[in-house]
């Protein structure tokens, strides 16, 4: 849905639609994934340590379950702080100044490299 390279020209109307659907930008997605992994691992370590020290398996499970719920709330919804680096689309006029390279030219270059 939002995998078009930035050099593709799109009408301003389409651009608005993309912008509205792009609820999380690339850097936001990367941040969300890393945050999810770090938070879950941290909660697991804390939960295991707490359960072992207190001698309670139930405490470990409850701590970890709480951690998973909290991590879900932080990283799963489309929070605005994951959308601080919106894609900069080129203007239609700008794109026309730099026409797309011809397909057969690029394929020749690739084969030459090999």
């Amino acid at each position: 849905m939002c995998l078009l390279p930035s050099s593709v020209s799109v009408s301003p109307c389409l651009r608005k639609i993309y912008a509205r659907n792009m609820l999380m930008d690339w850097q936001g997605q990367k941040l969300a994934e890393q945050l999810m992994q770090i938070l879950l691992l941290a909660f697991a370590v804390v939960a295991f340590a707490a359960g072992y020290v207190m001698g309670s398996f139930q405490l470990m499970i409850l701590t970890y379950a709480g951690g998973v719920v909290l991590t879900t709330l932080i990283t799963v919804p489309n929070w605005p702080w994951f959308n601080h680096h919106p894609l900069q689309w080129l203007d239609t006029s700008e794109a026309e100044k730099h026409p797309k390279p011809q397909q057969h030219v690029t394929s020749k270059k690739k084969s030459a490299k090999k």
Partner: protein, 167 residues
């Protein structure tokens, strides 16, 4: 990671993987526990001792079981199953085991106990080899964990002897 569903799926998968790891570690942590259980069994009386019509010996006895199994419990223990077996040797079989009594211990608080009981299950031999027979009373236990590996061990108490005559 671009949509709600993708992130929810990734989170759930990773969370469950870590949970499995934590359970494996909890099971491994049981190996750090070195239990030192103790038990004594006293036979108070042979209530009766007879030969069944078809030829098998049967005994009824009353015993006093004292045990402290608290050290078997760790944070990962669900319950402990214990049973007392009479073990003896006959010409036909090197080891005969007859379960006399069993119990499930649900928590550490109940693991130090004293009980006076007749045999819960019938003490019947396969044949008539029991007169004057020397036997062991063995306390077996199975530690059932919340997750992971089950442990089993036993404590052998020897030096018991059945009466020479039926009564």
């Amino acid at each position: 990671m671009h949509s709600f569903g993708y992130r929810a799926n990734a989170l759930l998968t990773f969370a469950v993987t870590i949970l499995a790891l934590m359970c494996a570690m909890a099971s491994l942590s049981d190996n750090l526990n070195s239990p030192s259980p103790s038990a004594q069994i006293q036979i108070l009386n042979f209530n009766w001792f007879q030969k069944q019509p078809h030829g098998n010996d049967e005994v009824s006895l009353t015993m006093n079981i004292t045990a402290d199994l608290q050290s078997l419990f760790t944070w990962n223990t669900k319950q402990v199953f214990v049973f007392v077996a009479a073990e003896y040797e006959t010409t036909k079989n090197a080891l005969n085991q007859v379960s006399l009594w069993d119990a499930i211990i649900p928590a550490r608080e109940h693991a130090k106990f004293w009980i006076q009981t007749a045999n819960k299950y019938r003490f019947v031999d396969q044949g008539s080899n029991l007169r004057g027979k020397e036997f062991n009373l063995t306390l077996h236990w199975h530690v059932m964990p919340k997750t992971g590996k089950m442990f089993a061990d036993k404590l052998i108490m020897s030096g018991y002897r059945l009466p020479e005559e039926y009564r």
